[in-house]
């Protein structure tokens, strides 16, 4: 069975696990090609205008997969990956949004992913929502999935081991690793000779340490990771500068950025916020990034 896997949203963080889960259950993953202009335009045409950029991109990938020869499309409903912490409402409603704009063209495989459930319940949910799974094999692959993901997370090391200033580029994985959406931000930074750190380069303990500085624990997993990493940079001087990347209209980020800005205003580490949407142009973005890096380098001289 050929199952479409959109190269968008959480794919960027979980692709090793997803591909493993697919293969061990006898599905052939058909991953969409990287984001391009056509995909974005298709996504824009399918979405409500106020939806955030990552979801528009996601819809574009869904559309382009729907045009290929696939038997089903994998769009999970990601509710929670940690206890008492959730994903943003768009992840919760994603399968409904996709079904709404695609109609019944292609069967959707949309299991509810809620890791605060017991493993048994997750297993049952998988069987219920993907009726093509073999119970025993699914149980085994579920067990190995966690191991693979842990190994994937431990592999984090600085993206470009340059010698220059350390810049933490913090944001959601689908904004940081989708080169079309952020105009190759990580490459631009690497060319400017800085060492880039992303959320994945911080260990769980470091993020927990940073997040302890919050007055109330955040209930969004990703937002909490970003805040934790940013606060850790402040507390331990782990980076010389921090760039926050957010998509326009992102609900959680609107508050998270404010919290981080308020905190950084009292300290000496430079902070820059980049807001992405479908109207962004690369020249303006590159200029801002260059100016930021120049400023970091000149701080030593002046």
């Amino acid at each position: 069975m050929r199952v479409g896997l959109p190269r968008a949203l959480l794919y960027f963080k979980y692709y090793p696990v997803l591909e493993q889960l697919f293969r061990s259950n006898g599905w052939e993953p058909v991953v969409s090609t990287p984001t391009n202009k056509r995909k974005l335009e298709q996504g824009l045409a399918l979405c409500e205008d106020e939806v955030c950029l990552p979801v528009k991109v996601m819809m574009g990938h869904v559309r382009s997969l729907a045009e290929q020869d696939i038997d089903a499309l994998f769009v999970p409903r990601v509710v929670s990956l940690e206890r008492k912490r959730y994903f943003c409402p768009k992840f919760l409603g994603l399968p409904d949004m996709v079904r709404c704009s695609l109609g019944n063209e292609i069967p959707l495989i949309s299991p509810t992913v809620n890791l605060s459930w017991s493993r048994l319940k997750i297993w049952q949910e998988g069987l219920k929502s993907c009726n093509c799974l073999k119970p025993w094999r699914w149980w085994l692959s579920l067990n190995s999935a966690a191991r693979i993901h842990r190994r994937h997370l431990q592999a984090g090391e600085p993206v470009s081991p340059g010698g220059g200033k350390r810049v933490a580029v913090l944001g959601h994985c689908y904004n940081i690793y989708d080169e079309y959406v952020n105009f190759g931000l990580l490459n631009t930074l690497a060319q400017l000779g800085v060492t880039v750190l992303t959320v994945e380069n911080f260990t769980r303990e470091q993020i927990e340490e940073g997040a302890r500085g919050l007055s109330k624990d955040l209930f969004w997993s990703y937002g909490r990771d970003v805040v934790g990493a940013a606060f850790y940079c402040l507390a331990r001087g782990a980076a010389d500068g921090v760039i926050l990347v957010a998509s326009f209209g992102c609900g959680p980020d609107s508050l998270i950025i404010e919290i981080i800005q308020q905190r950084f205003a009292r300290f000496d580490i430079p902070l820059m916020c980049l807001t992405l949407d479908e109207h962004a142009a690369d020249t303006g973005l590159v200029t801002r990034v260059e100016a930021f890096v120049d400023m970091l380098n000149w701080r030593d001289v002046c």
């Binding site: 959730y86 409904d96 007055s215 209209g249």
Partner: protein, 366 residues
């Protein structure tokens, strides 16, 4: 004794003031939301945070300028942003140099200890019995306000003298505000409802429109640009299912007692949006289905710009509305909303509804 203030949410200042005054606090009711409130909120609030956060921030700044030293705010557990408002507002106000304390009331289920601590603080030197009594009076007033408002929505398209009704409504709320006992509240409510019924009416049966969306925008007329009044004055009856008193009953009390049942709107939404998406997203979808089923003439959806749950709902609502041939107008509002464009869109919507009506009537008679 605290000099306590809270953000506005429609007429919720009436029950809140009654409760806090009963407990012997000095209540600083912030001035009604004005251009100044909006400007303050947008100047200091995060750029793409939602409108309720900015308006609440504006309320707080105005109240602090009036001498308040304690701010009362609600909390939450996500995934809607509201649960983190208080922390963000607190940081912003502190960075502006205000000295204050903030009491955040979290949902009781799972936060029993915090709620108890907040209640103890609000109670001050009074007894627990006094707190219960004050809360009871506040709930009574809230119910009465909701009833008066509901009646006003019903009568507005029907009465001839719309300004007279507005005057009556304001007077009725003031009477509820003045009432000292549940008995007096009941009398004020009954008097208001009777007086509204006596106003001269026109004979037409008005078209009915469901008003759905995010609760703050539904309940705060200054935020929704007085949409209920405008529709009513155009001769359209507004039907609303989200009421603050109902919301408190379901989401605070029943939830705490673990007696919360799935509401009708949630059940109706499930085939289209099968899980809770925070805020009132699922309700909006469910009420659109309900409006189509009950044969209403249209749906108006209001929500703050960038409100994620409602955006998720909106795409789905469009599909449902198109399927049932139900006119749907979506208004995403924030500080930039212009009155004139808003009125034009509402008038166009009203025209469509009236045209649909006469078409239906022609079919029935011809």
């Amino acid at each position: 004794m605290l000099k306590i203030a809270f953000p506005h949410l429609g007429y919720c200042a009436i029950p809140l003031r009654a409760m806090l005054a009963r407990l012997g606090h000095e209540v600083v009711v912030p001035p009604p939301i004005s251009r100044k409130t909006i400007d303050l909120g947008t100047r200091y609030g995060p750029e793409f945070a939602c409108y309720p956060l900015k308006l609440g921030l504006g309320n707080f700044i105005e109240a602090l300028e009036m001498g308040a030293d304690t701010l009362l705010m609600g909390g939450g557990i996500g995934p809607c942003r509201f649960g983190y408002y208080a922390q963000v507002q607190k940081e912003i106000l502190a960075s502006l140099g205000y000295k204050f304390r903030m009491i955040v009331i979290e949902p009781p289920l799972g936060h029993a200890r915090q709620v108890l601590a907040a209640a103890r603080e609000l109670k001050g030197k009074e007894s627990w019995l006094a707190l219960a009594e004050a809360a009871w009076l506040a709930l009574f007033k809230l119910r009465a306000c909701d009833d008066i408002h509901r009646a006003c929505l019903y009568w507005r398209p029907r009465v001839v003298d719309k300004t007279g009704l507005s005057r009556l409504y304001k007077k009725a709320l003031a009477a509820v505000d003045r009432a000292e006992t549940p008995g007096a509240v009941r009398e004020a409510r009954a008097a208001a409802l009777a007086a509204m019924e006596k106003l001269p009416q026109n004979a037409v049966v008005p078209p009915r429109v469901a008003l759905v969306g995010e609760v703050y925008l539904l309940a705060e007329p200054a935020a929704n640009l007085y949409i209920e009044e405008k529709l009513g004055n155009m001769g359209i009856e507004v039907v609303r299912h989200v009421w603050i008193s109902e919301w408190l009953k379901v989401n605070i009390f029943l939830d705490f007692l673990r007696l919360r049942r799935r509401e009708q709107a949630e059940k109706l939404a499930r085939p289209h949006l099968s899980c809770f998406v925070g805020g009132h997203g699922q309700h909006s979808v469910g009420e659109t289905v309900k409006a189509a089923r009950d044969g209403l003439d249209g749906v108006v959806h209001v929500y703050p710009f960038t409100c994620t749950p409602e955006i998720v709902a909106r795409g789905i609502m469009h599909k449902i509305a198109a399927k049932h041939g139900l006119p749907l107008a979506c208004f995403s509002l924030d500080e930039h909303s212009g009155e004139a464009g808003f009125v034009t869109r509402l008038e166009a919507f009203a025209d469509i509804i009236r045209a649909n009506r006469s078409k239906k009537e022609a079919v029935r008679h011809g």
